[in-house]
Structures are given as structure tokens and as C-alpha cells.
Amino acid sequence: MKSISEQAAWYQSVFDAFEKSLNGEAQSGFHALRKKALNRFKEMGFPTTRHEEWKFTNIAPVAATPFTPVPAGMVARIAPSAVKRHLIPQGHSLVFVDGHFAPELSSIGKLRDGVIVCSLAEASRRHAALLERELARHAPGDENSFVALNTAFSLDGAFVYVPDGIRLAEPVHMLFLSTGKPQALIPPRNLFLVGAEGQVSLVETYAALNDGDYFTNVVSELLAGEGAIVEHDKLQNESRSAYHISWTHIVQQAGSTVTSNLVAVGGSIARSNITTVFDGEKSICTLNGLTLAAGTQLIDNHTAIDHAKPNCESHELYKAVLDGKAHGVFNGKIFVRKDAQKTDAKQTNQTLLLSDDAIIDTKPQLEIFADDVKCTHGATVGQLDPDQIFYLRSRGLNLLQAKDMLTFAFAADVVNRVHVESLRERLESLIHDKLHEGRISS
């Protein structure tokens, strides 16, 4: 399916079958959005490396594969014991299997004060007005193939609503599990609405029970109200043959604080896009990211921070550890609009190359139209420091221990910024495992 017309024809036929499976739901207001998005996708097709935004990330294998969503009736039943190791042992959990909500595996627990945590499908039945107002309002589907494709096939995902002034003590964990079904299209759609002065930690985890060339194409929209405090953590730990493309759109109202922590370790080709728009003054946005890639993995992280309003701060730290023939990409855009005076933006990108064949493409991109701002950016690419290795060895650690210790420290710098304790511990042991894995394969 190299040409756009072939892609259009395939996804039209898939959509026709999908539409039939929806029954009454096909009459809903949201379905009109799906149709519109499908048409938009058919016009655009998948991007190629000729598109500036996809210059370093060749997604031809995604375009060439005929993906199909997994129908609700075909979803495998999973034993809770198989899910447990992917869950964090705290908070409210929503589990999805191949894109469908699995209530029997989920544990939402008690919610008070008008907080809503449920599947998007349930929300569309019970909170239709809220969804009508907010869903698909923040992610720009008109110019983006993947968002359009997600919208066209979106059926379920997570919905979290925190009313004004409510602070959720425990995190909400959303686990998107794949069974590794070949050529499955998994299009979760998440919507997070946090009211004024509300507070919540949101954790998205992508993991697989088996390897397979499935395709997770997820869109999350997060609206942080005035003075809200939100942590959004995402662990992308897809299987080695999988494709993962995600778009996280964050809108921050005045005085809000949003921290996004991304840990990307899985997939054959993976791209995360995180976009923040300041929709009010005196907001703070922190974007932290860590990529660990080995073998022939391609992991791409794109971030964009739109300083549309004055007096906002953004702090960004993205790190990558690349081994084998892995390819990492980082693109960090910062826009400072004409009126966004007193903007304070700092971006740092650091890459550690553990092998001679690993590649990093890094591109900080600052576009500044205001004159009274503080914007800094820096990118470093390097190897482990021989002086540090020698120091550790001279005290008795062997070469591998020394390298592991230094690499772990480099990576843990990002993970340490995660406030959800059980997740942080999980991530630390994941890094340990990945470093060990990388060594065996190389």
C-alpha cells in the first residue's frame, strides 16, 4: 500500500466493516466526527520521509501493512495473573486489551466528590454532553494523518474527569495491553479533564503479552484547568515488532502545572508526540523523556511547546541511551508567540551512544517572536566517560558493572522525576532489565 489511494481504499473498506459492527452507536454525534476524520485521512494518507516532520523516521512499514481493528467479540480473554505484572500496585486502574476496555481486569475502586474514571465508551453513554464539548477538540486532526486515523476508528479509551478543586490522592493507571495479534490496529482515545485547582497523576502504560506486528495509534487529550496540577506519565513498552505512534495534546490554562514523563523502550518503530499549548498566563510545563533502544529499534520523540501566553515556564529534559543499531530521533519545538513576553523556556537533550552503530538525529527548534524572553537549549551526544569508568574500576567494579552503573545513572536522572512511587520503582527495574538485555543481544 505505497500510494495514498491504496491506503485510502484499504481503510475505507476496513471502516465499512467497522461501521457495521457499531450498530446503534453509528448514529451518534461522534460518528460524524469519525467519518469526517476518515475522509481527511484518505486525502492525506501516511506521511513519508519527504515530509519535514518525518524526515528521520521512515514509517513505510506502517503504511505498507494492512491493519484492521480487533472487533469487540474477537478480544481474547486474559487471566488477571497475566496482567498483574504490568499494573502498578496503587491507585485506580483501567485495563484495555487490544483496544477494548476489560472491566474484569480493571480496578477503578472508590471515587468521591464527582470524580469520574471510566472507559470512553461508557463516558459517551453517561456523560455525553461533557464529551461532546471536549472530545476531539484539542488534538488537531485536520492536518495530522495519525490523529485522523485514530479518530476514524476510535471506539474506546480512558476518560478521567476531576472536578474543580478536587485532588485525587492516588494515581489513575491506564494499561493498554496488546495480545500481539498480527496486523491489529489498536486506536485508543483518551480524554483527561482536570478542573480548576484540581490535581491528579495519570499513568499510561503500553505493553504486550506476546510479540506481534500490531499498531498502537493513540491520541490523548489533556485539559488542565486554572491552577490545576497534573502529572502525566507514559511508559511505552510495546513488543519488539510492534509499531507505536502517539499524540498527547496538552492544553494548560492559567496558573496550571503539568509534568509529563515519557519512558519509551519498546516497539520496532515508535514515535511519541507531546504538544503543550499555554492557554493562560503563569503556567509551568515540564517535559521529561527517556528513550532506551537497542537492536534495530527506531524511537522518535517529538515535543512542541507553544508559549502562546506571557509569563509561562517550560522545562524540558530528554535523554536517550542507544545501543546496537538503534536509531533515536529527538525534535523539540518551542514557539514563543509575539505577545508571550517573560517566557522562560529551557530545553536539554542528551544522548548516550553505547555502540558505534547507533544513530541519533536531534533537532532543537526554537521560534521566538517575542523580545523579552529567556530561552535556552542544548544538545549533547556522547559516550561513557573513560575517566569515570576507570575510577569505578579502580575501586573494584568490573568493566560491565562500571558501564551499567554509569548508564543506569544517566537514565535514572529522568525516571527520578516521576512522582508516582510505585511507577518509579517499576521503571527503575525496567531500566536494569533493559540494560542487561541490551548487553546479551549486542
Binding site: D385, F390, S394, R395, Q401, A409
Partner: protein, 254 residues
């Protein structure tokens, strides 16, 4: 314990050590002095296993074993320790975590049980006192943001925990004020035993007022040109290195 025979070493083709011969027995303290660029630090680094130096000739035996064939970590596990002239900062690795891993690697090599967290903490608290080290430095990343004096103190603290049989102190006095110097030296003296040995590499005699050597060797242009008792250090302090340099040149001319 240590036997260095006719050791030659170079870096990028430049000969730095030009035939060093030295014997150190258990229970002894040796001072190696010399002007800048004489090869003192190179000798320390070659003994610790730094790979930037090529040993072109000679032999080093540590308890009868060929030291030069060992990796740096093997040397450490066999009981050799070098306190760095410029201790390296290791961001993200806590001082205690590193030290515990190092100690357990050494203990494992010696056939001893690894220490658990509680046993290790007890040991650490006890050894910290030797160098009057601030407890806050334990959980900070190794040497990161430490002052010059704190770094040197931390080196001796590592030595106190690892209990090497042979410790090489590479310019441990540099960058220390007089109070810190006394504390560090006191720490070293408390670690001195009949079954271990210390090599103090220094430019100045100052440190040797506190760590009193049994032997003093003067290294000039990569060779030991003069050896003597602790009085030699005082003589050097008084007459300067030119004095031994000139003497060495005269002897060489003969």
C-alpha cells in the same frame, strides 16, 4: 609486597617512566617526591592500571603476582588502592551505593560474604569518623559538587572502607588547607597496620610531617635518583629539587 623492576612507561610515544625500581614491604610507608612532570602521578596511575599509559619495559609484582597483567578491578580486588589526585565526579551514582558495590566486589574476591545494607551502614558510619566526614556526603552522588577538600577526604574514606593492603595516595595533600590536611593524614595514620603499606606521592614535604615515611624517594625525569630516610624530605624542602637534579645530572655524566 610490591616490587617494581625497571619500569618504563610512555604516553603517546613520550617516555614518562624511564626505569623505575622500587621495593615496598608490608608495614612500610614510602614517599615519592619529585618536581612537576617527573612522572610521580604516572607511576601511581600505571600501578592502578590506567590504560592511557603503555608499559614498554619492566615488571611489577604485587605479592608475587604480575600486577601489569591485571585489569584495574583485579588490582583493586587484590588489595591495591589509589587515592586520585583529581577524584572523578559521578553524577547520579550515590556515594554509598557505589562504595557498597565496590566493597562487595572486593569481599567476594576475598571469599568473604557480601555485606547487607545494615552491616554496610554500620561499617560506613564507623569509618566516616576516621576522616571526620560529613554524613550528608554519603548519599550525594560520588564527588559531585564536593569541595576540593571533601573530595580528598572522600578518597581516604573509600580507602578506610575498602581496607587495601597497598594504598597509593596521589597528591592527596594538594588543595587541602592545613586543618583538612591534618584530618586526612590522621585518617591515613589510623589505617596504617603491620600488614599493609602506603605509598605517598607528593610534591611538598608538608604532608610528610603528618604521615611520616620510612623511606623517601626522589623521582626526576622518570627515574628514582635518590632514596633516603625521612630527613631527605626536609633536605629537599630546604634545597629544592634542583639540588637532586644537578646531582643526578652529574652522576649521569660520569
Amino acid at each position: 609486597m610490591l616490587e617494581i623492576k625497571d619500569l618504563h612507561a610512555q604516553v603517546n610515544g613520550n617516555e614518562i617512566l624511564d626505569g623505575v625500581t622500587l621495593r615496598v614491604n608490608a608495614g612500610e610507608v614510602h614517599a615519592i617526591m619529585g618536581p612537576n612532570g617527573s612522572g610521580k602521578s604516572t607511576l601511581a596511575q600505571v600501578l592502578a592500571g590506567r590504560e592511557t599509559y603503555d608499559v614498554t619495559k619492566g615488571e611489577v609484582l604485587f605479592d608475587g603476582k604480575n600486577l601489569l597483567e591485571m585489569d584495574p578491578e583485579e588490582r583493586a580486588r587484590e588489595g591495591l588502592f589509589m587515592a586520585f589526585q583529581y577524584p572523578v565526579e559521578i553524577p547520579g551514582v550515590s556515594n554509598t551505593y557505589f562504595l557498597k558495590s565496590a566493597l562487595n566486589a572486593v569481599r567476594k574476591h576475598r571469599g568473604q560474604d557480601e555485606l547487607d545494607a545494615i552491616e554496610f551502614l554500620q561499617l560506613v558510619k564507623e569509618r566516616m569518623k576516621l576522616v571526620e566526614m560529613d554524613e550528608s556526603l554519603l548519599n550525594r552522588p560520588v564527588n559531585e559538587g564536593f569541595s576540593g577538600g571533601e573530595k580528598k577526604r572522600n578518597e581516604i574514606f573509600h580507602m578506610a572502607v575498602l581496607e587495601p593492603r597497598l594504598a597509593i595516595l596521589d597528591e592527596t595533600d594538594s588543595g587541602l588547607d592545613i586543618d583538612a590536611l591534618r584530618i586526612v593524614a590522621d585518617g591515613v595514620n589510623k589505617l596504617k597496620r603491620k600488614d599493609n603499606a602506603i605509598i605517598v606521592v607528593t610534591h611538598y614535604q608538608r604532608l610528610l610531617n603528618y604521615i611520616v615515611p620510612d623511606y623517601v624517594h626522589v623521582l626526576v625525569d622518570g627515574r628514582i635518583v635518590k632514596s633516603g630516610s625521612k630527613e631527605l624530605a626536609l633536605e629537599l624542602e630546604e634545597k629544592g629539587y634542583d639540588w637532586v637534579k644537578e646531582k643526578a645530572e652529574v652522576e649521569e655524566a660520569r
